[in-house]
């Protein structure tokens, strides 16, 4: 049964040095506040998993929290490069990073297999592509009925998955709406999970019987962090700050401006500071 705790407590109890950590959110509902809390608590040697690393993992890589990363698209969407990621891969700064690179289809299938407690996922993929030559975790499997050969990847089974969602009820049941990405699969594939939410409500009240819900007994910890997805967004709460994504390009391009930004906006900040972004943005929308 999910415990409803502070974000600091959730990270302290559930994220350990050396863990394989998946933080998901496909553009939408990216758990930024949780990532910042991990930086503040000094978690290190993490193996990060995420389809689209984007700014969140640029920050974790830039502070040296990651020993490795499994991913399928490592850019700043619509803007360009992730400079901290590139600096780590191209110049080993601030430390070398081991990468395991896949396609989106492979990652999505691997999370799905993890949620389904299967050791691997089979799919029609990687045909004629070079990734299988550089990634030993891309194999193949033969259909026992037709003899067709399909691509195969190991299931993703994180030590801990962290996501952000719209709301939870007091039993820790979680509702996710809109672009739901691979969050449900990532949580169900993991040993432990943290969900940060915009709101905690008395009645979850999903709009459809078939809404995307994670029951409290399938989640480890729920933390109330309004605005916790900023500069990503929470459908129904506040929009994506495309402008911040554009601004990140300048901040992250240079090691010093990056480090200064982290000092000021992460190390000297608190989870509650995210509420300000949410409120501010919501006001503009209204």
């Amino acid at each position: 049964m999910a415990r409803i705790v502070s974000l600091a407590e959730a990270v302290e109890e559930n994220v350990r040095d050396g863990d394989t950590v998946a933080m998901e959110g496909f553009t939408h509902l990216i758990p930024y506040a949780a990532g910042h809390e991990m930086i503040r608590q000094g978690r290190t040697d993490l193996f990060l998993v995420r389809m689209t690393p984007d700014i969140l993992y640029d920050q974790l890589i830039g502070v040296g929290a990651a020993r490795g990363m499994k991913f399928s698209w490592g850019g700043n969407p619509g803007v360009g490069s992730l400079h901290r990621f590139r600096d780590a891969v191209e110049n080993q700064w601030p430390r070398p990073i081991e990468i395991e690179e896949h396609s989106h289809a492979a990652m999505a299938n691997a999370y799905e297999a993890g949620a389904a407690n299967l050791p691997f996922a089979a799919f029609r993929g990687y045909i004629g592509a070079d990734l299988p030559k550089v990634n030993l975790n891309i194999g193949s499997v033969t259909c026992p009925f037709t003899g067709e050969v399909l691509a195969a990847v190991p299931a993703i089974r994180p030590d801990v998955t962290i996501i952000h969602a719209q709301r939870a009820d007091r039993k820790g049941n979680v509702l996710i709406e809109g672009i739901v990405g691979v969050q449900k699969e990532a949580v169900l594939a993991a040993r432990r999970s943290i969900v940060t939410v915009e709101e905690i409500v008395d009645e979850l009240d999903p709009p459809s019987p078939n809404s995307v819900v994670l029951p409290g007994w399938a989640v480890t910890a729920v933390a109330h962090v309004p605005g916790g997805a900023f500069p990503s967004y929470a459908h129904g709460y506040y929009p994506r700050s495309n402008a911040f994504y554009i601004r990140w390009d300048e901040i992250a391009r240079d090691r010093e401006t990056f480090t200064a930004w982290i000092r000021e906006n992460v190390l000297a900040a608190k989870p509650e500071d995210f509420a300000r972004h949410a409120a501010k943005t919501a006001a503009k929308v209204a």
């Binding site: 939408h28 289809a105 299938n109 070079d130 550089v134 672009i179």
Partner: protein, 261 residues
């Protein structure tokens, strides 16, 4: 006739390649603009799908990311990402996939992974994302890229997604039944694979563009088809629609900018 830029010509030429019956897997940037221009001009019933899970979306402004809220708000419905890649893309339901890339070779293979050796890259690019499976599972692929020597190269350092591989019947030999890249739309011209060799060949030149301009911007000795036509210039309507959506987009993303942290 209004003046237009090469990029506008590229986007409009790409839009024209789409029809009302297409179910189109849309990438960000030029593909997104082209698909929405098609939707707002000659193909009002085209189905646009973004890999974030949004199906039948009709954005009023172009998304900056593949998963902007606008895409979900205007979609018929939104599915999970595993479902998107399993039931819809791998399921064989997409008629047309739109790709771009950092580099392309003469057989329309694309690189968006690395420049230099994979283990010690000179430039680490974002990677493949959906491209490897978009390239193999969609009925056909359109590619939009500006024609430059840096982009159109003799040999790719890394094949992120397969086009026609080594040319000829290479796709068939690998068991693929989809057509692969059938058109590459650049800012100067339109290329199509030769029916036999599958080498990209200029079939249409945009108004005012000369052959040596095209040849000078391509990293391999580019071939021209026996008959090369001139791409019809953008119509007034096409330009107005494109510029309107670009203006709305700029305004929306600019406005969002002001309140950002």
């Amino acid at each position: 006739m209004t003046d237009f830029t090469p990029t506008e010509m590229m986007t409009i030429a790409a839009a024209r390649a789409l029809s009302n019956d297409d179910v189109c897997f849309v990438g960000i940037g030029a593909p997104s603009a082209a698909c929405n221009v098609a939707r707002l001009t000659h193909a009002p019933d085209i189905t646009l799908i973004y890999e974030s899970g949004t199906i039948g979306t009709k954005p009023d402004v172009l998304p900056l990311s593949i998963g902007d809220g606008e895409l979900c708000d205007t979609a018929l419905f939104t599915v999970s990402v595993p479902e998107m890649f399993r039931y819809w893309l791998q399921g064989g339901r997409i008629t047309t996939g739109f790709l771009g890339g950092a580099q392309i070779d003469r057989f329309a293979n694309l690189n968006t992974t690395v420049v230099g050796p994979y283990d010690h890259p000179k430039v680490r690019l974002p990677g493949g994302g959906g491209a490897p499976e978009i390239a193999s599972n969609c009925g056909r692929i359109f590619i939009t890229m500006a024609l430059t020597k840096r982009g159109f190269v003799e040999r790719l350092p890394f094949v992120t997604s397969m086009g026609h591989g080594e040319g000829g019947n290479h796709r068939e030999r690998l068991g693929l039944s989809t057509s692969g890249p059938t058109r590459v739309i650049t800012d100067l011209c339109i290329l199509e694979p030769d029916p036999e060799t599958k080498e990209l060949t200029v079939v249409s030149m945009h108004p005012g563009i000369a052959r040596d301009q095209i040849a000078g911007n391509c990293g391999w000795p580019i071939k021209f088809a026996e008959t090369v036509i001139e791409t019809p210039a953008p119509t007034e309507t096409e330009l107005v629609v494109l510029r309107d959506i670009n203006a709305r987009t700029k305004k929306a993303h600019g406005a969002a900018g002001k309140e950002a942290a």
